[in-house]
Symmetry: C2
Subunit: 238 residues, 2 copies
DNA sequence: CTGACTTTGTGCATGTATTCACAAGGGCGT
DNA sequence: ACGCCCTTGTGAATACATGCACAAAGTCAG
């Protein structure tokens, strides 16, 4: 076959970011007992354009059947494999405040290859407590725990102030994938991947669009309130 | 005409997504007492290329001074205003499981114009409890509460199964901005904005890159394990 | 007042992503 | 066995985003 596309470094970033969405839609279909799905149906379920979906899937290989569609189970396997979900990814969560606890208890976390292997915190009143069947260990043990458990993904759920420090120690201990929930911009060496999840940023983006909608709807003028100055400094830390 | 850019619908989406990051960097600088900042410095603090930063800011207007840089306080105000943060955005959180509670207690949430105005849940054992100075109300009250509090942004923190239903009710009650934490693809009318925050998706993206790194480092062959089939259906619900 | 120096704002080239539209390919009924 | 019909996979067109490189515009020293 004309195997071209699927090569080992050929998948665009935008496509990678959508594969998990497709995977979720596929699981839903499988749950419903659907055996076969067309690009159009899957695209609707995933909330994207069908041409985009087909092009995305074509980067993994030619797994559809013309005139029929895609076999759901087979496609689930191919996408999972491409994303690396057929192997085990031990995850460590650092910081067990409200958010860290929520993450530790979140069911969907553990599924699909991700396994919470360690919980770490520096607060002595939290260390030693059990959360989601694991005992919280002290941050001093970070390096040892990471090596022992072969942790490959670190989740930072600390206050902003500790974010960079924790990140540096994770990197030093050999972690090369980091998911950051702390509202701080992390700097890391090139070989380390960081993804951030930041609800404050998402809210601000929503506010931008909401403001636009409001100013269009009401009246094209007076979108702001010039009399009320913004309060200058807002602590970014915990 | 030189003034062109700043028009009422001229800001690219990619730029909007970065403005909150710049804002955070600016707050940090202001906290340090920095009065003026160059595009290069700000770019480093925000983790982007300086040309990109300048182009982004140029979409809001010409707020820098050549040879000097940007006045931090003034830029904070301009970016805040552009994002709509100079006005009040009442937020309702629906679903007060681990995640909802973490969000309600999250300090950074309340700052910068966002104000938690209501907490809603359908579980009778949760309704009536107080979280972060607010009493949890029953979901049945959703429409009334949203109108009374003039809620404009809804945060969905329910299990996946309830996500679409809650979303529909929010939309029906007039909410046009939704932040979705439930692992489900929401479908909404065109005039409604949805942003999703999905840690499982972020982890999968990290896994993809980690896998690539591993297979490049180890040996260019054998990136997959053909003997170990993927376990087929994984419930997506809570 | 002048000229050297700094940093912005932006034209242009390049790269990446999306979407259209259709030929290529495969199933299925007859 | 054949041809119709459906859906994939992809070339080509378009739209969007990034980054270089520099002229325009300001500061500041003397």
């Amino acid at each position: 076959m004309s195997q071209s596309a699927n090569g080992s470094h050929g998948i665009p970033e935008a496509t990678v970011a959508r594969l998990p969405v497709y995977l979720r839609a596929l699981f839903q279909l499988a749950e419903n007992g659907t055996a076969t799905v067309s690009s159009e149906e899957l695209a609707v379920a995933a909330g994207v354009n069908s041409a985009k979906l087909r092009k995305d899937l074509s980067h993994l290989g030619s797994y559809g059947t013309r005139g029929v569609g895609y076999d759901v189970e087979y496609l689930v396997y191919q996408v999972s494999r491409e994303l690396g979900l057929t192997q085990d990814w031990p995850v460590a969560i650092i910081g067990l405040g409200n958010l860290g606890r929520a993450l530790a208890n979140y069911g969907g976390f553990a599924s699909r290859g991700f396994r919470i292997a360690a919980l770490l915190d520096s607060d002595p009143t939290v260390v030693g407590t059990r959360i989601a069947r694991l005992t919280v260990q002290h941050s001093d043990e970070m390096e040892a725990v990471i090596r022992r458990q072969r942790v490959s993904i670190g989740v930072i759920a600390t206050p902003a102030g500790s974010g960079q420090g924790v990140c540096d120690r994770l990197v030093a201990a050999g972690v090369t994938s980091i998911l950051n929930f702390a509202p701080v911009i992390l700097s890391v060496p090139d070989h380390v991947d960081v993804r951030k999840v930041d609800l404050s940023i998402e809210l601000q983006i929503l506010a931008f669009h909401a403001q636009r909608k409001a100013s269009v709807a009401d009246r094209p003028a007076r979108p702001d309130r010039p009399d009320q100055a913004v309060e200058a400094v807002e602590a970014v830390g915990s």
